[in-house]
């Protein structure tokens, strides 16, 4: 049975997550969705609102989802899957998780990516962040959680556009600087085209999302490659997005060491990393890599390069990381590995 796609809706308190979700659940395209919401506080207001729909609702009952994610979320998702398999609930085709406004979405993604109890049955499809058109800028100023939510998202929905124009007040441009690869959609009263939120392979194995990240309009500061590692960048709210390029193939061990060092020393700063990597040992078959902080999907090997550009490209969204440091680190590790290979051959 094909894995069930999972989408995570995140966004700061009052940013319109539940309104968005409630509207989405009226869309026939999401008629067979199971929803997991997280109650935060004494009154499960979000739950009551969502409960009005006819969807499968599961209420987590132990506080913030990011704190209890390993237990409750995994157990809840597992329970849904088991009940679906047993035929005791409607055969849902998708799971949507709504986090609390204060949640860091990364631990939720980590649980979905790593827990062996559910990893084979689910596939992380997308992270959707809601940002309030009227209060969003102030929220980004005051709450680092909201910055991270927007930076880590695959799609950003600017809500309450009936109250404020996000283009006029600069919010859209700010979000673009924060996360240039994420399409920014607008919603008034929670109305948005669900086709633009779900599906489309944001975490897909074919590298389509990586190519989207690499699109010129997404990374205008990514300078032309000159056959070596190259990084460009743009900054916003302490978040930097840049592309590390390399014109020559990387040894698999160099790539592993590079990711290990990043995970070990700057996992929390490394919000997202997606890449197409030309691995020396597998010529003509690029590896798609995708990580959220220190947790990565297993690499997927493509049969062929998806476009004419056959260079390694790793797009990084990070908080407080210098692109030139990553460039130097990759160069240094590669030189070190090359030296060892050369020495081993001589021996």
């Amino acid at each position: 049975m094909a894995p069930v796609p999972v989408s995570v809706i995140t966004g700061f308190l009052g940013s319109g997550k539940t309104t968005l979700l409630a509207r989405l659940l009226r869309d026939p395209a999401l008629a067979r969705a199971a929803v997991i919401v997280n109650e935060f506080g004494a009154v499960g207001l979000d739950h009551l609102l969502v409960e009005a729909s006819d969807e499968e609702i599961v209420l987590l009952d132990s506080g913030c989802v990011c704190c209890s994610v390993r237990g409750d979320l995994v157990r809840t998702a597992g329970s849904l899957l088991a009940r679906r398999a047993a035929g005791t609930i409607a055969p849902f085709e998708r799971i949507v998780i709504e986090t609390t406004g204060l949640a860091d979405p990364a631990p939720i993604l980590h649980a979905l990516m790593t827990d062996p109890a559910i990893a084979d049955s689910l596939c992380l499809e997308s992270v959707i962040a809601t940002v309030d058109a009227a209060a969003g800028a102030a929220t980004l100023d005051a709450h680092p959680e909201s910055v991270k939510q927007a930076a880590i998202a695959d799609r950003i929905v600017v809500t309450k556009t009936d109250l404020s124009d996000p283009a006029a007040n600069g919010l859209l441009e700010r979000l673009r600087a924060l996360n240039p690869a994420a399409p920014r959609l607008t919603a008034a009263h929670g109305v948005v085209d669900s086709n633009r939120l779900f599906g489309g392979g944001m975490h897909d194995a074919q590298g389509a999302d990586v190519r989207r990240w690499l699109a010129a309009e997404a990374l205008p500061h990514d300078s032309a490659d000159h056959g070596h590692v190259h990084a460009g960048g743009r900054r916003g709210d302490g978040i930097t997005t840049f592309c590390v390029r390399r014109g020559t193939p990387l040894r698999a061990v160099t790539l592993t060491l590079f990711l290990q060092v990043l995970a070990e020393h700057c996992g929390a700063r490394l919000l997202r990393l997606k890449g197409l990597v030309d691995v020396l040992e597998r010529p003509g078959r690029p590896a798609v890599i995708h990580g959220v902080q220190h947790v990565f999907h297993p690499p997927t090997w493509l049969d062929a390069w998806p476009d004419a550009d056959r260079t390694t490209r790793m797009v990084v969204i990070a908080h407080g990381l210098d692109p030139l440091w990553l460039e130097a680190l990759l160069d240094a590790l590669d030189a070190e590995v090359a030296e060892r290979v050369s020495t081993a051959r001589e021996d």
Partner: protein
Amino acid sequence: MRNDAVWNARISRVLWGALEVWGVSGTVVPDPDDANVFVISPRTGPELRVRRDAAAGWAVTLRDPASGAEVGLGRHAGLAGLLRRLRDELAPEAPAGRLVIGAQQMPDRDAGAR
């Protein structure tokens, strides 16, 4: 690996960047007398010397601020081990993670991926 000016600048940048990531104030200066040595001087605490030897890898020594004597802290075959050692010495409270490869494959939306 050629220990030339390019290599020297690259390693300096790696070490500088690591200090920044760990939140350590200090300097990294190539030893003018030995191109294979980098001197790391944190704003507080003793100076560390990092020496690259093609055969033996990286050696880390601590210079006693009082006597000037050098104490070996260990050898590391590669840069990854060296950075781990330096973090342990210079910023033991800095967050330390580890690479996790999840159990979940990325969704395969057509037959091209293996």
